[in-house]
Structure formats: structure tokens, C-alpha cells
Amino acid sequence: MQYVIIGNGIAGVNAAEAIRRMDPNGRIVMIGDEAFPPYCRPMISMVLEGSVPLAKLPIRQASFYDDCKIEPILGNRVTELDVDAGRVDVNGKHVAYDKLLIASGADPRPIRAEGLELGNIVYMRTEAHVRRMLDALDGGARRALVLGGGLVGFKAAYGLMCRGLAVTMLIRSGYPLSMQVDAFAGGMILDTLTAHGLDVRVDIAAEVFEGKDTVEAARLSDGSRLDCDLVVIGKGVLPALDFVPRDRIEVDLGLVVDPFLQTSAPNVFAAGDAAESIDVARQARWVNAIWPEAAAQGKVAGINMAGRTVPYERSLSRNVIRIFDLDVMTAGVVDPQVITGAEVITRFDPATRHYRQLVFQEDRLVGMTLVNAIEQGGVLMALIQNRIPVAGRRERLLAPGFNYRALA
């Protein structure tokens, strides 16, 4: 059996390990664009803020490929996939597969503006990107401009603030993380960031970047000009699927997969940021581009590729973020408008700054936003993910720590 895995992110790595456990003799070829040892992508934001050294990024030994008897092909992207011939092309070479996993993840969504070729204008997706940012800091960068207030833009802004830079963030909604948290929690986050000196501007875009070799200023859509010596673009991500023949494999935003993480093409599986499966809370197809999803999907995809049929029906958007003195945990539906028949309950305690929003649909919990007192949030997450009916008084679930009694 010849397995080919595209992508050496967490989805690809977990798939390879699962395959190897179940099939000691099959041939595994892993094709990855990044030659760095498998590493924890979310942790690049902690490297930026200075709480984790670069050396701690890898999550597997350098000997990972040997240990799992994997043949790595690193440093280049797959450029073509031929589902009829059962092969992929990389660097001019054909690689044939019996089972293929597409775990190519996502790439930063590009922006349009003049002067993007200037130095110190970076995306934030890879360890190479974060090294460029650290170089800019070493070079004396003092004023940063961050485009986008999603997860990555927000983490970039926070990291640079921790490094003592003056940071301006341009966002579209009234508060950062609008896809992750509700408006009240978003307000708490915004207040905390501005109290620590973040300059937030809403509904403004950067149009032109100016400078000699490296960026020195940005001209914004409101006509103003902003001095900056580092620009981070964090306007979301798009599944990295350039090589996928869209007339042969069903692609929506991501590769559409069934509960066994199989795509519409025979023997082709997908997992992680590149895949689109049914989200349990929304009960609709969704790309949940997050680490724990990529980790779980990769593992289950590998098991299925190795011949055991195991469904994965637990995809759920979720996140946990700690900034300054705020802990934020969210899962499932945060904007009740996106589903029908949502019932919302909330509690805010100004003394402790504990906040909770819970979203119900009929007798199910489908969404949560917690600010502070997050330790037992996993219990609520499990209620959402396993679609457990909630019988007792719902308000009990708003208590900061809770007892199992609350579920009865």
C-alpha cells in the first residue's frame, strides 16, 4: 500500500502516525512545503510575544520521519493532482498513491494594496514569517500596523504590544475577534487592549505603503497617513488547494468530506484547515480552521486510510485565548442570528468580571462565550460537541464553576 500525504502540519503528522500504527509495512510519502521539523503553528504567536523561544516550536523530534519510516519530500509544493492516474506532481516528479491525504492547510488571504513588495510587510502563518518579524524587531521596529482583527491579527497585535511596540490595528467590525466572540465579550477584549495602549480603527483599510526599502508609512482609506516600520497582514486564511482539480473533486470553501473524511474522489481524503465537514453546532458544512480540529481529523483520516472505518462527526469551532488579565473561551455558535430558534442567556458579574453567554437551540446547547472562570469550560464544550440534551434549569450553567447537579 502506498500512502501519500500532502502537508506536514498537525493534520498530516497525526495521519502519518495513525497509519504507521495500523500498517507497519505500508509505504508513506509525505510532501511538505516547509522543511522545518513538524511544529506547533499557533505557538508562533507566543514566540512573537516572547513567552516561548523559537527552539520550543517543534512538536516532534527531528528524527520523526525516520522513526515513522516516512519518506519526506520537503521544500516544494504539490502542483498537480491527477485523480484518474492516482498521482501527484511535485518539483517535476510524479508520485503515485493508493491512498492520498490532502492536509495542505491554509494560506493567508492576500490583500490588495500598493507597495506590498516593501520590506517588513509580513503575513503571519509560518515559523519563517515569525522569524522575519523578530528580525524586524531586532532591526529596531517601533511602530506596527496590523491589518485585521481576526484570530491572527489579534494575536499579532497582542504579541507586538507585549514587545513594547506602539500598535495600530485596522478592523472591519466594531471589536476584534468578531467571528470568535459575541459583542459583549468583544467589548471586554477591546477595552482591555485599548487600556494597554492599542490604537484601534474601525472600517478603514490600508491602500498604499510607502518607504525606501522597508515600509515607513501607510496611507489609509480615510485619507490619513500613518508612520509604521512593521506591517502584519492578518485578514484570515483560505484553504491551500491550488493543485486540486475542481471539476473532479467537490470543493466549496474547503474540500468537502464525508464523515470518514473522504472527498468525492476515490481514495482521496482531506483533513485540517483544507477540509470542510459538518459542524455539530451549526449542523451545516463548515471549515473549522483550528488546531484541535486539524489534530483530530488528521488522526481519524489516517485510521480510515489504513482501512478501518471510523466516523468523525464532532467538528466544532472553538478557541481559548488568554490576553493580559482576560481568559476567553468560546465554542460553537456565538452569533445567535446565524441559526433559527436560538435562545440566549447571559450573565455578567462586574465585581469578578466573569461573563458567560450560552446559546441554546431547542434543548441543546449550541454555543458558548466565556470570559474568565474558564477552567471547567470543557464540560460545556462536551455538551455542545456531543449534542447532549440539557434538562435542568439552564441558568445554572451560567455559574462560574459548576457541579454535575446542574446538568440534571
Partner: protein
């Protein structure tokens, strides 16, 4: 291999396991001096309340596969097969709380701990008292539990007891093994008290609802 088995129906909510756990993870290993240590030793087992206000000792289940292990960003959580224990490496832990989101039992806490670098907040949970076990001891919570709500036994023994109980319950002639009278009485009392508070007589509905404290108001069905 022996493991800690929890029997919630026998828990009287005395919280001695919490105290014993904190002391077992202190420097001094004795109650009085332990209280003056910094960071202050904290329990990794938490007694909460079950549906009838009975005690519920909540501790890490050392799941296999463990959701926290799969979710851990820096790969700080591992499973030690020989002791069936899920362990957190405090040097690798980055306090991101990904494990809090993954744990369906809510048993992980975040604070400074003697085992970690001074001043570093880390994820802390039950370690099955491996240090005590290495010295032929048993987990501190089990040793402290006087009502046998926590036992240390092989899973085979625990399963056998459970299977026997099921077998007895389907046999018409064999009576179910009674819980010792003390627990049965205590649980019956708690249950009855709650039912009194929460199922008012129809004519009396308003007054009783006004009397029932919010936190004891459990079942309507």
C-alpha cells in the same frame, strides 16, 4: 495494575480527599507546615455536588485516548502506559488552557505549583500520586477516604463487582447488594429533602417556590 475507582454513591462530601491531595503534593507532606508553603499546595481532586446534593469526587479519569493530550499545543501531555496515567510536563506547558477546553470533566486547574519553575503558571491535575506509588504507597485521596468512595484496585476487580451486581439485579431470587445502610440513608435523606423543596403541592405552588432556594431547585419532571 491498580487504579483509583470512584464510587460517587458512597461519597459523603467530607472533602478529606482534597486536603490529603494538597498535602501529598506539598514539600512538607504534613498538613500544618504545608499551609505555609509558597506556592500554597492545592488539591487536584475536587468534591462537587451530584443531582441530589450528594458528594461527587471529581478527578482526572486518565482517559485513553485522552482529549487533552490530542489538544495540547506544545505536546506537554503524555500517557504513561505502565501506570495508565496521563501526565503534564510542566516545563513544556505554556498555560494556554487548550486542555481546559478539551477536558469533558473540568478537572484541570491553572496555578503555580511546586513542581514547576517559580512564578510560572501551569496546568495542574491528578498524577495518580506516582511518587507515593513508587514508594509502595497508595494515592493520598484513597488513603484519606473513610467512606470507600475512592478505592484503589485493579480494574478487573472493579468490573467483576459491577458485573456481579448486574447479574444479581436480573435474578429474581438474589436481592441486589445493599449499599451499607449509612449511605443509603444519607442519600435517601438528601433526595427526599430535595423533592420536598422542589415538588410543591398544587395549591401551595407559589409559596413553596418562593421558599425553595435557587441552588437546591433541581427537578421539575
Amino acid at each position: 495494575m491498580k487504579q483509583v475507582v470512584v464510587h460517587p454513591e458512597r461519597c459523603v462530601g467530607c472533602m478529606q480527599c482534597q486536603v490529603a491531595c494538597a498535602v501529598a503534593h506539598s514539600e512538607a507532606k504534613q498538613l500544618v507546615p504545608a499551609q505555609f508553603e509558597s506556592p500554597r499546595p492545592r488539591p487536584r481532586i475536587h468534591v462537587g455536588a451530584g443531582p441530589y446534593n450528594e458528594g461527587f469526587p471529581n478527578r482526572c479519569r486518565h482517559c485513553d485516548p485522552a482529549p487533552c493530550l490530542l489538544a495540547c499545543l506544545p505536546g506537554a501531555i503524555t500517557r504513561v502506559a505502565e501506570t495508565a496515567t496521563v501526565m503534564i510536563n510542566v516545563d513544556t506547558c505554556i498555560n494556554c488552557a487548550s486542555c481546559a477546553m478539551a477536558c469533558p470533566f473540568g478537572v484541570i486547574r491553572y496555578h503555580e505549583d511546586r513542581s514547576a519553575q517559580a512564578g510560572k503558571t501551569v496546568a495542574v491535575k491528578c498524577d495518580n500520586c506516582l511518587a507515593r506509588q513508587r514508594e509502595d504507597g497508595i494515592p493520598a485521596c484513597v488513603e484519606a477516604c473513610l467512606s470507600a468512595a475512592l478505592t484503589f484496585e485493579t480494574l478487573d476487580a472493579a468490573y467483576k463487582r459491577q458485573t456481579d451486581a448486574v447479574a444479581r439485579s436480573v435474578s429474581a431470587v438474589a436481592a441486589a447488594e445493599a449499599l451499607a445502610p449509612g449511605w443509603a440513608l444519607l442519600n435517601a435523606h438528601k433526595k427526599a429533602r430535595l423533592e420536598l423543596l422542589t415538588s410543591p403541592a398544587p395549591s401551595d405552588e407559589k409559596r413553596a417556590a418562593g421558599n425553595a432556594r435557587e441552588d437546591t431547585h433541581v427537578r421539575h419532571d
